[in-house]
Homo-oligomer: 269 residues x 2
């Protein structure tokens, strides 16, 4: 048994989709979330800046003595995971690694679509990791720059003409290639899961990076006997680096439930 919390961080609020999955899988665990809303977005920063930000995010979470950390930020998972693993002496789970492994394992026809932000697609990291696990898989990667703004403005309804049109455009090439598995390669995208599913005519397995990383952590705790007490009701605490006002309303979109627990603004710089 290990009563210490699980730490989660992201550049903003998208990582709350991972918290939602952790909460579902691990109801007895305490979760500490840090969203670096004061320095979002990370995707446009230089690698050096991203590593520096990631270190300060980690250092903040270490105050809570977490047993594991889930890096819910695709940019940090891509750019800084190796450095952080070298520098920090606790198990780190990155969303990109987890989702790439799941996609490689689940495709039957050997064709995987990857949706991501422009920076994620440009990095080629999903392709590299999927190919490392399954060299013969055909991968079609599509930058989907309008999806984050749509989600952040609450436009997620598959019946919304703007949503279905934009999602349909982004999926066109992935459908044409015959993909049976699609990576929703940004923590915001699972909020569009129904629209993406509709855009694939229900014919593809959709991979949520947050869900995959959460499942890896659940399996690791099980394996190590490192879960919290089974009679403990897990708590959640949320920290952000910009104004905490408005956090609850925005966070509920990602968590799909009211925010319970602490919400506090902190300075990590």
């Amino acid at each position: 048994m290990d009563r210490r919390p699980i730490g989660v961080f992201d550049s903003g609020l998208g990582g709350l989709t991972a918290v939602k999955e952790l909460r579902r899988l691990l109801p007895h665990e305490d979760i500490v979330y840090f969203g670096d809303t004061g320095r979002v977005p990370y995707g446009t920063r230089s690698d050096g800046t991203i590593v520096r930000y990631a270190r300060s995010d980690m250092d903040f979470l270490l105050r809570f003595d977490p047993k594991r950390v889930l890096i819910a930020c695709g940019t940090v998972s891509t750019v800084a995971l190796k450095v952080l693993r070298r520098e920090y002496d606790l198990p780190l789970e990155g969303v990109v690694e987890a989702a790439a492994a799941a996609a490689a394992a689940r495709t039957r026809r050997g064709v995987v679509g990857v949706m991501g932000t422009a920076a994620t697609i440009r990095s080629g990291e999903y392709e590299r990791l999927i190919r490392a696990a399954a060299p013969s898989v055909k991968i079609v990667s599509v930058a989907c720059p309008l999806l984050v703004p749509l989600v952040e403005n609450g436009r997620t309804d598959p019946e919304d003409l703007v949503v279905s049109t934009v999602v349909g455009e982004y999926l066109a090439e992935i459908r044409a290639a015959g993909a049976d598995t699609v990576v929703m390669g940004c923590t915001h995208y699972p909020l569009l899961e129904r629209a993406i599913d509709a855009g694939m005519d229900g014919g593809a397995v959709l991979i949520s990076p947050g869900r995959e990383a959460a499942e890896r952590i659940a399996r690791a705790l099980e394996r190590d006997g490192a879960g919290n007490a089974p009679d403990h009701a897990g708590t959640s605490a949320y920290y952000v680096s910009d104004a905490a006002e408005g956090f609850a309303a925005a966070a509920e979109r990602f968590l799909c439930e009211p925010v319970s627990g602490v919400v506090e603004k902190v300075d990590v710089e």
Copy 2:
């Protein structure tokens, strides 16, 4: 005659719509543009941070000894213009002031629509300034958070279903109120001028903040006899605080012509 250049700054590239207007009105002037692409967006920062950023933007432009500065950033114009006017001893023109004055002067029916980012609309600054100039004007303000992402992804064609649907939604309340004048209250929006015009059925005067501010500067130079030599072919120099690669392609959308002149990355922090 005053051979010194005109300085222009913005948090990103949107301010290039003002450069385009300056270039059109003042072909003999040298223009120095600074886009703070490394710290964009400003709209989500605290007032203190915005003032600090604005000072460093001004200090950078002062290296070129400008005769006037056009503040093409709506957030800085709203939050920091007064402070900057107090601290810097040269004439400053803000896009918000210029556009609000133009809207108040041009409405015939006394109903003005204001489109802006969430932060701009929340600030109430357009309403305050329009009302100060024309107290009886009815103002309908609408936050249009999806328009910047659309423009930044090159989605500006009025025939694009996503563009016409989104623009149509945002204009619904402005149309219903009977507005005859619409402020395109963000430097990105003039790229959607044709779509906004179509959304108003061609029935409204559209106010471009960059154009209004540029016209004020042109009038001031004329009045003061402070133009450059009439045989001088005006030059443009562009500076950004994040990677300069990709600048030309993105900038051309705003300038509506190829980028000529220097493009350089600088560190202003």
